[in-house]
Amino acid sequence: MSVKIPNKPCISFENVSFGYPDGIVLDDVNLSIFPGEYVGIVGPNGGGKTTLLKLLLGILRPKSGLAHVDPALGIGYVPQRLSQGVFDFPATVEEVLVNSLSRGDHAAAVEKALQVTDTMKYKKKLISQLSGGERQRVFIARALVLSPKILVLDEPATGVDTPSQDLFYRMIDRLHALSEMTILFVSHDLEIVARETTRCLYVNHSVTSYSCPADILQHHHHV
């Protein structure tokens, strides 16, 4: 993975804090993520990993500080639960992709996203008929169809069998190498984060950055 990292961050948090009346979730977070980085986000449950993602996606607003994402870069997002459990929304894979875009003909973009994620064969199928792993790839296709420069994945491999997980990480590697896309993913699996990513953020109300992800195994083996 020899992606050249530019100097200007595409995501920056300056003294960002966020909390609810019953407690603080993130306290005075400062971080910069640069274009082309492949960043793993780990930490204990309730430590603020998903909150961090939601702040950078603009779903939540900081109580104080500034969360900035370069507006010229689109963000593709794959939420945690979409590949898990029962998902009986009555729509075909094609409909899920097409209706994520603005009005107009986007057939070429849809075909490309389906090819990259190897989901072309599911195009006319209902998403409710797919397995967790297949659905996960479809929702990544849905994120890619928006031509994002940043891809954000929340616990992408949870609830997915091991062969599907391996396929999934090979696909993300390919995407990262080919498109120089910035990729952020939240995971519980420290070994995968140490193996796959180029940098790791440990989130437990504050954020610690590890430029060598393998270090995370020594510091936080209990996560």
Binding site: I59, L82, E95
Partner: protein, 234 residues
């Protein structure tokens, strides 16, 4: 249905009953009063839902509230009780030309809104978080969705009746879902089943002198059982 609000239409129907009674009391067209009341309820429901009370229990609050207000207001009404009760079970003979025009305008408005913003409605229904991450203001779209449902319930209840209007909005969708098609085809099939149920229900109720609401919903139920059997036999 796909938004997991199966009780929404029933809630709005009970709220609209309060509007109907209020309309008679204030001597304004009951249909307009009902549209106004359900619209206000739609704003209120979205406001309460945003503050995350337990699950979708917000619907129960508004359903009971609507019914309670209607029964209290009924006490002050004099001489219109017969007509008010026709709203319970629906009656085509009580529909005035004014009602017809209000229904046509509402239908055009609702249909145009859905056609223009089909993709946004789809995305919000698919997953609110995904929609938010794409910059969709979900509170506005949730409100618009409930407001459209409120308009539809108000205009349909004259014919189908307050007690059965929820069924007419749910059963055709359930029937269409049995075929296992995608979103657009399911929507078209459910519209087809609704139209078929209403038109044939009105004919049957006219010739057999039955309550139109009951006849319409029984035909919609037959369509559901037909599609259910089709699914499980094929």
């Amino acid at each position: 249905m796909v938004r997991r609000y199966p009780g929404l239409a029933d809630t709005l129907a009970h709220v609209s009953l309060a509007g109907v009674v209020l309309g008679f009391l204030l001597k304004i067209p009951p249909l307009l009063a009902s549209i106004g009341t359900t619209f206000l309820a739609a704003i209120g429901m979205e406001a309460v839902r945003r503050r995350k009370i337990f699950g979708e229990s917000v619907q129960v609050l508004f359903l009971s509230g609507g019914l309670a207000i209607a029964t209290v207001l009924l006490k002050f009404d004099q001489g219109n009780q017969q007509e008010i009760f026709s709203f319970f079970f629906g009656s085509i003979v009580t529909v005035s030309w004014q009602d017809v025009w209000i229904t046509v305008i509402t239908a055009i408005f609702a249909l145009t809104t859905v056609i223009l913003f089909y993709r946004t409605f789809f995305l919000v229904a698919l997953d609110e978080e995904l929609a938010q991450a794409q910059g969709v203001k979900i509170h506005f779209w949730n409100f618009l969705f409930v407001a459209l449902a409120a308009l539809t319930v108000s205009v349909v209840m004259r014919v189908v009746g307050i007690l059965l209007v929820g069924s007419l909005m749910i059963i055709p969708v359930l029937a269409a879902l049995q075929f296992g098609y995608g979103f657009f085809r399911t929507m078209m099939i459910s519209i087809g089943i609704s139209l078929f149920s209403v038109i044939s229900g009105l004919f049957v109720s006219y010739y057999l002198d039955l309550a139109s609401g009951g006849a319409i919903v029984l035909i919609a139920l037959s369509c559901f059982f037909g599609s259910f059997l089709y699914k499980h036999s094929s």
